[in-house]
């Protein structure tokens, strides 16, 4: 009698398995878990708002550059014109560092990257996932005289950029409220 129990159980499972295999693969199911997340894990972490701290290949010293009167916009060139500030290309680094401080070990690394014709694999510190469906445009914020530090923290005190401000929707919404900026969903989500 117990055998029957086992048999029944097996059948039930077999049915489900067979069917699961038989059911055709959808032609368009993509090879990433979602457009935003490569894996279920990534999705889960995003769901619980866990951001792994970025490990930068080179300890880029923001504070030194800023101390030397460099402006954010010198390297993040397009911030005033376009939606993205842009992680600077190694080309940008070489504009100065082909002459300046060429003997320092870190700069040597940079040079070697540019010689190899490979970008420095900077890790993104800020930014939204696809699934957030956020369309953020830097330029209007710069025009509205929003200080870079307001959203990115005071880089003058950091070497590599850290996630000083958590870019949650609440953060954006509050600022928009205070400054009477449009607060409709469509302002950012489309």
């Amino acid at each position: 009698m117990a055998r029957r129990a086992v048999a029944v159980l097996a059948c039930a499972l077999a049915v489900s398995l067979v069917w699961a295999c038989a059911s055709e693969l959808s032609p368009d199911s993509s090879s990433v878990f979602t457009p935003a997340h490569r894996t279920f894990g990534a999705a889960a972490r995003h769901f619980f708002n866990v951001h792994p701290a970025a490990q930068q290949p080179i300890q880029f010293p923001h504070k030194i550059h800023l101390a030397k009167e460099a402006q954010c916009t010198d390297c993040h060139e397009t911030v005033e014109r376009g939606p993205v500030a842009g992680i600077p290309s190694v080309k940008t680094c070489m504009i100065c560092h082909s002459q300046i401080a060429t003997d320092r070990p870190l700069i040597k690394e940079v040079t070697s990257y540019s010689e190899k014709g490979i970008e420095i694999p900077w890790q993104r510190v800020y930014g939204f996932t696809h699934e957030a469906h956020v369309r953020f445009n830097h330029a209007p914020h710069i025009r509205a005289k929003v200080d870079c530090a307001a959203c990115h923290g005071n880089l003058a005190t950091m070497t590599v950029a850290e996630r000083a401000v958590d870019h949650t929707m609440g953060f954006c919404v509050n600022c928009h409220r205070q400054n009477k900026a449009p607060n409709d969903c469509l302002t950012c989500h489309f």
């Binding site: 039930a12 489900s16 959808s26």
Partner: protein
Amino acid sequence: MSEGLPPTMTEDLLRPLLRTSWRFYLLVAFLGSIVAMGLGTWAYQMYRGFGMTGINNPVYWAFYITNFVFWIGISHAGTLISAILRLVNAGWRRPVTRCAEVITAFALMIGAMFPIIHLGRPWLFFWLMPYPNQRMIWPNFRSPLVWDFFAISTYLSGSLLFLFLPMIPDFALIRDRSTGLRRKIYGLLALGWRGTTKQWHRLESAMQIMAIAIIPVAVSVHTIVSFDFSMAPVPMWHSTMFGPYFVAGAIFSGIAGLIIAMATLRKFLHLEAYLHPVHFQNLGKLLLMMSLLWGYFVFAERLTTWYGNDVAEMNVFYVTQRGSFAPLYWTMVVVNFVIPVIVLSLKKTRTIAGCVIASCGVCVGMWLERFLIVVPSLSHKFLPYSWGHYRPRPVELLITVSTFAAMALLYVLFAKFVPIIAIWELKAGEHPSPALSPVAAHEHALGETHA
């Protein structure tokens, strides 16, 4: 009540709790595997994408919503019926009430799963709940789906309470009869019930209040479920009679479910001595009445539609009446109306078997009814260019099947751990007048002798 109770009553009713046969394990294993399969299927559907279902444009709701409405409907068996019976103090209710209330609790739990299963992004279902958040975004209180959320959660908590209250004395009884861990657990559940007169009064009044309170809730729940449809400008959905129509349908299917459950229990737990043919006959009469009521509603709906002759509605009307949905439609009419009315109105067919047959028919029929409300309308909306069709896919079928297994499983487990018939109520019923204190005293004494 005419029938006397056997002296071995308490033992009979506690037997399933104390003794366990291999059959029990076999049954649980079987049902459990099906439920597991259902859950697995759901996980698969979530992982592969909602496209694994047969849902398409424009038929965006189908099997899952049908099941949702169906199970919520079934849930109207218990609480509502037992509440009414309690209020009118129908003596014959005593053995029936608990197995009825249990149905409510479980059917609701299962039914409430479906709105989540049918979500495109189920992991975000909690956005239906109003919870404070930094974004200051709340659910849209204008949406019937949000009303659903509140209605169902209220009804669920209400009926759980309503189920639990009358179990307390029985828990106490088991506590007093058992030892060890079991004694501890039931002790906890019994909430320190000592059976004092005060406690009996409290219990009775609490149940009176609940019984009165739960009825409007029950009615509102299915009305709101019907609003999911009638609030949308969809041909044959946008109707004022959907509220009562759905409530009637719910009670209808509920009673059917109850009859089936009782018959099964009677058979497998050998409760012939407690669930007498008269119970089935009475419920059978109720079922007959509801069947007639349902028939009346369908007639009214169909006639008004046909008479009104609105272009869009007529397309749906005909596609169910003579078109591709006609077979389902006429099956529904037969099993929901023709068979029950014939079987239940004749005294000699209104037997236990007769009632069960009719009830099975009604369960099928009511499921079809919901399906025929959801799909034909969606597939024949206003612009013929975008008409569609629908065929279920394996995931939907498997999940649907597994919910029936889930219902059975939960019921089996419940019957295993709680006396499915309220022992103290039966005893109370023994007395010519259900006056409280003597019963209480008696009950109390009984409690003590075994303590």
